[in-house]
C-alpha cells in the first residue's frame, strides 16, 4: 500500500481486528439503505406523506453513513502517516518572481505614465459598467413622499365599508384605508383610536384634526417600516402605563394622548397624524395628507 519512494511519509498498519463482523454490519446497513431508498421512491408515487418520506430518505442516508463510517474505521487498513511540511517561502524564493515581473520594465522610459493611463482607463470602464446598474432603479423624486390621502377621501375598513365615528371605541384600535386606493401602497394604511377629548394633551391644531377624540395615524412605523399593530391600553391607571401604539418589530412606543409622540424605543420621529373630519353621515373623512412624512427616515424625510 505505502510506496517505498515516499521518503517523507512513514506509515504503520494498525491491527485491523476482526473484519468479518464489521463486513457483515456494513453489508446489512447497505442492504437496509437500499431498501429505504426504494421505499422513498415508492412513497413519493403512492403515499407522499412528509413524515414517511423524511423517515425513508433520512433513514437511507443514515444507514449509508453508518456503512461508510464502519468501513472506514474497521474494514480498510488503518494507518497514521507523518509528513514533513513544505516551507513555501524557502522553496520558491519570492525575489525570483519579483525579478520576473520587473523584467517587463526594461527599456521602458515612461513607465509611470503608462501604468497611470492604464489605471485610468480601467477605472473609467469600471464606472461605465456601473451605470446600467444605477439605471435599475427609478429616481426617488417625489414619489416617496406621496400617499393616496387627500382632502375628502373617506376612510374605509378592510371590507371597503366606510368607518364612522361610532365604530371607533375607546380602548380599541381599527385599521383604515383610503377609499378606492390600493392598500399595498406604503402610505395607505392608518390606525384609528379614540381618546376621550378631555384626556388629549395636544395642540389646538391637532385637536381640530381629531373629531370627538378620534385620532388617525400612519400605520407604518417611522423607524423601519413595520406595521404598528399593537395597541397598549391600560386597564388600571395610573399604576399601569398610558395608552400607546406599539410596533411589534422593535417596540417603538407612541403615546396616543400626546398625538403619537415617541415614548420609548428606537424610532427617530413621531407617528404622523392623518387629519380627519366627520361628514353628515358621521363617516371619517381625511381633510388632507399626513402631517409630516410617513415611513422610515431618510435624508429628506423632514423636508
Amino acid at each position: 500500500m505505502s510506496s517505498p519512494t515516499e521518503g517523507a511519509s512513514e506509515t504503520h498498519d494498525r491491527e485491523a481486528g476482526s473484519k468479518r463482523g464489521a463486513e457483515n454490519l456494513v453489508l446489512l446497513s447497505l442492504a437496509a439503505a437500499t431498501l429505504a431508498a426504494v421505499a422513498f421512491g415508492v412513497l413519493v408515487i403512492v403515499l407522499p406523506d412528509t413524515q414517511l418520506l423524511g423517515l425513508a430518505l433520512g433513514g437511507s442516508l443514515a444507514l449509508l453513513g453508518v456503512a461508510a463510517v464502519v468501513a472506514g474505521q474497521k474494514i480498510v487498513p488503518q494507518e497514521i502517516a507523518i509528513e514533513e511540511r513544505t516551507d513555501f517561502g524557502e522553496r520558491q524564493p519570492a525575489s525570483e518572481v519579483v525579478e520576473m515581473v520587473r523584467d517587463a520594465e526594461r527599456g521602458v522610459s515612461r513607465r509611470r505614465l503608462l501604468v497611470g493611463a492604464a489605471g485610468a482607463s480601467g477605472a473609467a470602464l469600471g464606472a461605465a459598467a456601473l451605470v446600467p446598474a444605477v439605471a435599475l432603479g427609478p429616481k426617488v423624486g417625489e414619489t416617496i413622499a406621496q400617499t393616496p390621502w387627500s382632502r375628502g377621501r373617506r376612510v374605509v375598513d378592510s371590507q371597503d365599508r366606510p368607518i364612522t365615528a361610532d365604530d371607533v371605541q375607546v380602548g380599541a384600535m381599527l385599521s383604515g384605508f383610503p377609499e378606492g386606493a390600493t392598500r399595498r401602497e406604503f402610505g395607505a394604511s392608518i390606525v384609528i383610536v379614540k381618546v376621550p377629548p378631555g384626556e388629549l394633551e395636544i395642540s389646538a391644531r391637532m385637536r381640530a384634526d381629531a373629531p370627538e377624540g378620534v385620532l388617525a395615524f400612519s400605520k407604518i412605523c417611522p423607524h423601519a417600516g413595520c406595521a404598528v399593530a399593537i395597541y397598549r391600553h391600560p386597564l388600571y391607571e395610573p399604576t399601569t402605563e398610558r395608552p400607546a401604539l406599539v410596533c411589534p418589530c422593535h417596540y417603538s412606543t407612541f403615546d396616543v394622548r400626546r398625538g403619537g409622540t415617541l415614548e420609548f424605543g428606537p424610532a427617530g420621529r413621531d407617528l404622523p397624524q392623518l387629519p380627519l373630519e366627520l361628514n353628515a353621515a358621521r363617516e371619517l373623512v381625511a381633510t388632507g395628507d399626513f402631517v409630516g412624512q410617513i415611513g422610515p427616515s431618510y435624508l429628506g424625510v423632514r423636508k
Binding site: 433520512g58 442516508l61 472506514g72 406595521a227 428606537p266 427616515s297
Partner: protein
C-alpha cells in the same frame, strides 16, 4: 477496471501525480476539525433541495386567488411567490420535505460556520500562514447569513414581508444615498416594483450561491496547499503533519459524515416542522404580528435595532443619520470588521509574527481566549435583546426595564466576561495537564541512518507534559519560537 480508468484519464490529462498527492493528503484527527466539514455537507444538501424547489417556485408579485387544498387560505388573493410556495409545501409530492430540509440545512450551515469560527479563533488557527483563508471563511459566514435572509424573504409570507420591510428601512437609513439605494434595489417605494421578486430569486439561486461555492473551493484549495494545522502531541511538531491519510479510511469516514449530516437534515425536514408559511398567511404592508421572530441568525441584528436609543442626527431639515443605520448597519459592520481585522490585531497584541502550524489549546493563551469569548458575549447579549419580547411574556420584568438592563449589560458584561475567562484559563492551565489527545499504539519511524525504529506510545498519557504549561508560556509556543529562530538564521 480501476486500472483501465486511471490509465485512460492519466494518458490524456496526466493527473496521477496530483491524484496520488490527494489520496495521501493527511488529516489530523480532532472532532473540532469536523465543524467546517459539516457546514460543507449542509451546503451540498442546500444545493440539492434548492434545485428541487427552484422548479416550482414562481418569483412574482402578480396577484392570484388561492384555490388549493388548504381550506383557511381558499379564496384569498395573494402573490404568485406566496401561492407557489404554499403549493410547493402542500401539494407537490415531497415538496414540504425538501423545503423543510432546506430550511433546517440553512440553520445547520450557519451554526456550523459560527462554531467553526469560534474554534479557529480560540486555537489561533487564523495566524500566519492562514490569514488569507481566514478572510475567506469570514466572508463565507457573511454571505451565508445574507443567503439565508434572502431565502426566507422569497415566500412572501407575513414574516418574510416583515423581514423585508425592515431591510428596506435599513437601506433607507444609509446616510445621504439611502433612498436612492433602496429604490435601486426595490425598483420603487416599498413593497417595490414587479422586478423585485425576480431580483431576490436570481440573487438567491445564482449570484450568492455561486460566490459561496467559489469561496468554498478557494477555502479548500488553500487548506490542501498549507495542510491542516494540528494540536501538539508527541509526534506532531511545527515541521510535520500527523494524521490519517485521505485514502482509504478518512475518505470513507468523511463520506459517512456527509451521509449522516444529510440524514439528520432529512429526518428533521420530514419530522420537525419549520416555518409553516401557510399558517402565517400572505404579507401585506399593513399587517404585522406580535412576537414575530426572524430566523435565529438574524437575532443579533434585531436586537441591535431594538437596543439603540432614539437617536437621529439632523442638520436643519436634513436627516443625516436615520436611526435604523446604527443598529442595522453600523453594528454589523463593526462586528465583521473586528472579525476581519483579528489576525492583525492578534499579531500586534502578542507581537507574534511567526508561522504557526501547531494550534494553541484555548486555556494556554488566556488573553486571546478571554477576548474572543468576550467578543462573542457582546454579540450574544445583543442577540438576546432580539428576543426580549418573548422573555417579557414568560417573565414579569417589563420590556422597558429589560431594554435598559441590556443597554448597560452590552457595555459592562464583555469586560466582566473578559476577566472571568482569563482567570478561568489561567487556573485551568496551572492546575492540570492539557487534555490533548495522544496517539496510542506503535508507530514505525525511519531513522536518519535509513533503518527503522519502533516508537511505543502509552495510552492515556497526555500529549504535552503539564509541568511545562505551568511555567508561563505553553510548550507549544516555545517549540515554535525555536523552530522559527533556527530557520531564520
Amino acid at each position: 477496471m480501476i486500472r483501465n480508468l486511471v490509465d485512460y484519464v492519466d494518458e490524456r490529462l496526466g493527473v496521477s501525480p496530483g491524484a496520488r498527492k490527494l489520496l495521501r493528503y493527511i488529516f489530523p484527527d480532532h472532532w473540532s476539525f469536523l465543524l467546517g466539514e459539516i457546514a460543507l455537507y449542509a451546503f451540498i444538501v442546500l444545493v440539492g433541495t434548492g434545485v428541487f424547489m427552484s422548479l416550482y417556485y414562481v418569483p412574482s408579485d402578480a396577484e392570484a386567488v388561492y384555490r388549493g387544498a388548504y381550506e383557511p387560505l381558499r379564496g384569498l388573493t395573494m402573490t404568485e411567490s406566496y401561492l407557489s410556495t404554499v403549493n410547493l409545501s402542500l401539494e407537490v409530492p415531497a415538496g414540504l420535505l425538501m423545503r423543510q430540509t432546506h430550511h433546517w440545512a440553512a440553520n445547520l450551515m450557519i451554526i456550523a460556520i459560527v462554531l467553526h469560527l469560534l474554534r479557529i479563533l480560540l486555537t489561533g488557527a487564523f495566524r500566519k500562514p492562514r490569514e488569507i483563508n481566514y478572510l475567506v471563511g469570514v466572508t463565507l459566514l457573511a454571505l451565508t447569513v445574507l443567503e439565508g435572509f434572502v431565502g426566507y424573504s422569497m415566500p412572501d409570507d407575513l414574516f418574510s414581508g416583515i423581514g423585508l420591510v425592515i431591510s428596506y428601512g435599513v437601506a433607507l437609513s444609509i446616510p445621504v444615498f439611502g433612498a436612492d439605494l433602496a429604490f435601486l434595489i426595490w425598483g420603487a417605494e416599498y413593497p417595490g416594483s414587479s422586478d423585485f421578486f425576480p431580483r431576490l430569486y436570481i440573487v438567491h439561486v445564482l449570484i450568492v450561491p455561486a460566490a459561496i461555492a467559489g469561496l468554498i473551493g478557494m477555502h479548500m484549495a488553500m487548506i490542501m496547499r498549507q495542510h491542516h494545522a494540528q494540536f501538539p502531541s508527541k509526534l506532531a511538531t511545527e515541521r510535520n503533519v500527523v494524521g490519517y491519510p485521505m485514502w482509504p479510511g478518512y475518505a470513507l469516514k468523511a463520506g459517512g459524515l456527509m451521509f449522516l449530516t444529510a440524514a439528520v437534515l432529512f429526518l428533521l425536514g420530514g419530522l420537525v416542522q419549520i416555518n409553516p408559511i401557510w399558517q402565517w398567511g400572505p404579507y401585506e404592508p399593513y399587517l404585522a404580528s406580535n412576537g414575530a421572530q426572524p430566523d435565529w441568525y438574524l437575532g443579533w441584528l434585531l436586537g441591535s435595532l431594538r437596543l439603540m436609543p432614539a437617536l437621529e442626527i439632523q442638520l436643519g431639515d436634513l436627516t443625516l443619520v436615520p436611526n435604523a443605520f446604527w443598529g442595522g448597519l453600523v453594528f454589523p459592520t463593526i462586528t465583521f470588521m473586528l472579525m476581519y481585522a483579528w489576525p492583525w490585531i492578534d499579531r500586534r497584541w502578542f507581537g507574534d509574527r511567526d508561522k504557526h502550524d501547531l494550534l494553541d489549546s484555548p486555556r494556554d493563551n488566556p488573553r486571546r481566549t478571554a477576548i474572543v469569548i468576550s467578543y462573542f458575549s457582546w454579540v450574544l447579549i445583543i442577540f438576546i435583546a432580539g428576543s426580549i419580547d418573548r422573555l417579557y411574556l414568560s417573565s414579569t420584568v417589563p420590556y422597558e426595564a429589560q431594554v435598559w438592563f441590556l443597554r448597560i449589560a452590552v457595555i459592562v458584561l464583555p469586560f466582566v466576561v473578559y476577566f472571568a475567562t482569563k482567570r478561568l484559563c489561567e487556573e485551568l492551565s496551572a492546575r492540570e495537564p492539557r487534555p490533548l489527545r495522544g496517539w496510542t499504539g506503535k508507530v514505525v519511524r525511519r531513522t536518519p541512518a535509513g533503518g527503522f525504529e519502533t516508537v511505543e506510545l502509552d495510552e492515556g498519557v497526555p500529549a504535552v507534559d503539564g509541568a511545562n504549561g505551568r511555567n508561563g508560556g505553553p510548550v507549544v509556543k516555545e517549540e515554535a519560537g525555536a523552530g522559527e529562530g533556527a530557520r531564520g538564521s
